[in-house]
């Protein structure tokens, strides 16, 4: 079988498998967030936390819950990282320095998992599994909770109640993320991933040298790393490391897991909104963008343009031999489309335009299909824009799912949309004009700009992958990117919840013949168009100076 046929089958089987889980996983998520029953274990948790699971919150109460939980999480993780040398299983490693600890704490709480450190030489096992991996679970659950609260805003009327954040958080963690992760972890071990608490083994190699083979609770972390679209690797090499991603089929499984929840959430949305077809429309728009991107990057990496790839005869630099160039490209597209940020190859060494696609994927705003939860709420914001634009064309008040999209709603949506581009472009500009910003570049010229643009796009959109040539462990980048991650996560969340509150308070309007049907192919096409136009207008100048200048 040729490389091209194999790559097509890799993509086709992924799409087929996602189509198979779309309904059962989406329905399961629907039951989890809409059920009125509490499991006994969950009741115990609510008692320990001291919250009443029956009480619902207003949008501001829900937002305060999210922010309080995240603030406490940042402080807890910061302290954990600073004190790791005094704890068990630290492997003799020193405390993480203050700016690195700040950056890492923010990074994992915001579901970004940007890594300004090298896992195997910075972190002990305890802080990995009891600090970072916990945030892998709960930050994903927070994203799903916020998305569900937004959908409740669309589906409820004349109320200020959007659900209970603590209940959503606990249920998603206990009933969805934990069981799937446990199974996935065991499957990964069967493929060769390591899972132990050992400090490593010194092996005496065939040539008489000593090689320190590392250990760690890797598989349990790897599973939630991809399932929760987190992306923070146990090791520096992330999913390229043979202990995290040992074989070609675990590579397929990891791509599948990182897409599974974001792709299935539109089903949950459709069920809650009372029309499966509403979910199909959203997932169709996601699929058009995602498949387009995956095919494009495969073609670009396969054609290996650029001086070094031409000299080599293939874009193999930074790719593992067991995955091959094309399956690595599919992983790269999936990880940047989902805000995961795990990498199984070095994006920095991709062809100029292939690397450009990974940047563009993040600049789409992580909506195709986006992160766990954040992908759905990001796409619904764009759906609001789409009905707004359609309303402007025909001169009537737009509505979506029976709710009027008036000035207040559009203001919230606009604030949401403007947050991340502002952070990306302002952050890149600041880094380019400062000494610390330029000093971090590994590559020079346009590729250096791409490295910086990639870093700020990744941090602000909570992706976490990198053009890893950039040295980001200094105070400048640690601070600036930490701020981008924090603001890029929580500003949009507050605006989403504000929008949800505003929608929930409305009385629904009955659909009329003038209502734009949002479950039709026409709407899908418009949604894709609006997304591309908004992103192109915002980022084309920056892309022209980086990857486009390098590749053309």
């Amino acid at each position: 079988m040729g490389d091209t046929t194999a790559a097509i089958l890799f993509i086709a089987t992924l799409i087929a498998a996602l189509a198979v889980v779309y309904r059962p996983l989406g329905d399961h998520l629907y039951r989890v967030v809409c059920s009125t029953r509490h499991l006994r274990a969950e009741r115990v948790i609510y008692r320990l936390v001291g919250v009443d699971p029956g009480g619902e919150q207003s949008w501001s109460g829900y937002a305060r819950g999210v922010l309080a939980f995240s603030a406490v999480s940042v402080l807890f993780l910061y302290a954990f990282l600073r004190l790791q040398n005094h704890l068990w299983l630290s492997l003799g490693l020193p405390a993480v320095d203050p700016d690195g600890a700040w950056n890492t704490a923010v990074s994992f709480v915001t579901n970004t998992d940007w890594q300004s450190y090298s896992g195997e030489s910075t972190l002990g096992h305890l802080v990995q599994m009891t600090g970072l991996a916990v945030q892998n679970f709960v930050s994903a659950a927070v994203g799903i909770s916020v998305a569900v609260a937004l959908v409740r805003g669309f589906t409820r009327s004349r109320t200020d109640r959007l659900g209970n954040f603590w209940v959503d958080l606990v249920r998603v963690t206990v009933r969805v993320l934990l069981p799937i992760s446990a199974v996935a972890a065991l499957v990964l071990i069967a493929g060769g991933a390591v899972q132990n608490l050992s400090g490593g083994t010194d092996v005496h190699t065939l040539t008489g040298a000593v090689q320190h083979v590392t250990g760690g609770p890797v598989a349990s972390q790897e599973a939630i790393k991809v399932l929760g679209t987190n992306g923070g690797g146990f090791y520096n090499a992330n999913s390229a490391h043979p202990f995290e991603n040992p074989t070609a089929w675990t590579n397929w499984l990891e791509v599948f897991l990182l897409l599974a929840i974001p792709v299935s959430l539109p089903r949950t949305f459709g069920r809650m909104a009372g029309g499966d077809r509403q979910g199909y429309a959203i997932v169709a728009a996601m699929a058009v963008l995602a498949v387009g991107s995956i095919v494009t990057i495969n073609v670009l990496q396969g054609s290996h343009h650029g001086t070094v790839p031409t000299a080599v005869g293939a874009a193999t630099e930074g790719t593992e031999s067991r995955f091959g160039v094309l399956d690595s490209a599919t992983f790269a597209a999936a990880t940047t489309l989902t805000s995961t940020g795990a990498v199984n190859s070095a994006h920095d060494s991709y062809t100029p335009l292939g690397g450009g696609v990974t940047i563009l994927n993040m600049l789409l705003g992580e909506i195709a299909p986006g992160g766990t939860g954040s992908g759905l709420y990001g796409m619904l914001i764009l759906a609001v824009f789409t009905v707004f634009v359609a309303g402007l064309m025909v001169g009537r008040t737009p509505e979506y799912l029976g709710k009027k999209i008036s000035a207040r709603e559009v203001k919230f949506a606009s604030l949401y949309f403007l947050s991340t581009p502002t952070l990306v472009l302002a952050g890149t500009a600041v880094a380019i004009v400062t000494g610390w910003g330029r000093a971090g570049m590994l590559n020079s010229g346009t590729h250096g700009l791409s490295e910086v643009l990639y870093a700020f796009a990744s941090a602000s959109n909570n992706n976490g992958s990198a053009f890893a040539g950039l040295t980001v462990s200094g105070t400048g980048y640690n601070t600036a990117l930490g701020l981008c991650m924090l603001l890029g996560r929580f500003l949009p969340i507050v605006f989403v919840l504000g929008l949800a509150g505003s929608l929930a308070a409305q009385q629904p309007v009955p659909a009329s013949t003038g209502t734009l049907r949002t479950d039709q192919p026409l709407f899908v096409g418009m949604l894709v168009g609006v997304t591309l136009v908004l992103v192109a207008l915002t980022f084309l100048p920056a892309l022209a100076l980086g990857p486009l200048a390098e590749g053309l």
Binding site: V49, S73, F76, E120, M129, L206, A311, G313, A468
Partner: protein
């Protein structure tokens, strides 16, 4: 006493975090670790270690360097791919050099292009094949000119420097558009010239395979392409005094095809292959 609302909120948040930490950060990983003790999983969970007699000689999943104390490749072993980490599992990672990394910034910081050219030349010499590649000089550095024009980017060419060939080298090309090409003088800044890689007449499909001249993503890649393994068979058969056909069968035994016929790329596990070679056909100096 009733706590203020914001304080109660943060206390609930702290308690929620602690409870979820116990659940997802202690019970979950320990349960998975315990389940990984089951036969069938245990060997993998421990790192797929390979033993030879009393010593642990490798992890089957982690690549090794097969070089002597001086860093030179040992002729009796299949060579792994280049590695940005030197096959050190405590410093994993990729080179991260970009596709247009073509100008050497210093003697100890060669561009990716020069690294590729140098590796290709060395492997070609070692295996007795043509090591030439596009954009490479015959000496094995990146064939790259800095072209200076009268008005910056336009106008007639005024000066041309082969940036990766330090003086007193003879540039790979004598003239460029009628102007004599000069070697690069130490310490001079050529960034005002237009960087112009020169394709040359090397074949588009070089004899040395792509994976042999590029580093992997982890720095621990245990695999090489079947083509690179095949290229090395004659040398190793000679060094160990065995029949090349026998050796090819051994290589095939350590080759993993695409999983399920379509996932990934075929690869030869160099660590396992070399360990097997040492056991079956020991090398005598």
């Amino acid at each position: 006493m009733r706590l203020p609302g914001w304080l109660a909120q943060h206390l609930a948040a702290l308690r929620a975090l602690l409870v979820l930490t116990v659940l997802t950060g202690v019970l979950y990983p320990l349960a998975v670790t315990a389940a990984a003790r089951l036969p069938g999983l245990r060997h993998h969970a421990d790192g797929s270690l390979v033993r030879s007699g009393d010593t642990t000689v490798a992890s089957a999943l982690i690549g090794q360097s097969f070089t002597g104390p001086d860093g030179a490749p040992l002729v009796q072993y299949f060579q792994s791919r280049p590695s940005a980490a030197g096959y050190d599992p405590t410093a994993t990672g990729a080179s991260n050099l970009g596709p247009e990394s073509v100008v050497d910034t210093a003697a100890d910081r060669p561009s990716l292009l020069t690294q590729v050219c140098a590796r290709s030349n060395a492997i070609g010499a070692r295996e007795g094949v043509d090591g030439r590649r596009p954009y490479c000089t015959p000496q094995g550095v990146g064939a790259v000119l800095a072209v200076f024009r009268r008005d910056g980017l336009t106008g007639p060419v005024t000066r041309v420097v082969s940036v990766n060939e330090a003086c007193p080298a003879t540039p790979f090309q004598a003239t460029y558009q009628g102007i004599t090409v000069r070697c690069a003088a130490a310490g001079e800044d050529y960034s005002a010239g237009v960087v112009t890689p020169v394709r040359g007449d090397a074949p588009a499909h070089p004899a040395v395979p792509a994976d042999a001249v590029t580093a992997g993503g982890s720095g621990l890649d245990p695999g090489i392409s079947p083509a690179y393994a095949d290229l090395q068979v004659a040398r190793i058969a000679r060094a160990r005094g065995i029949d090349p056909a026998t050796l090819r069968r051994l290589v095939a035994a350590h080759t993993t095809g695409r999983a399920l016929g379509f996932l990934g790329a075929p690869a030869v596990n160099v660590t396992g292959l070399n360990a097997d070679l040492d056991t079956t056909y020991p090398f005598h100096d």
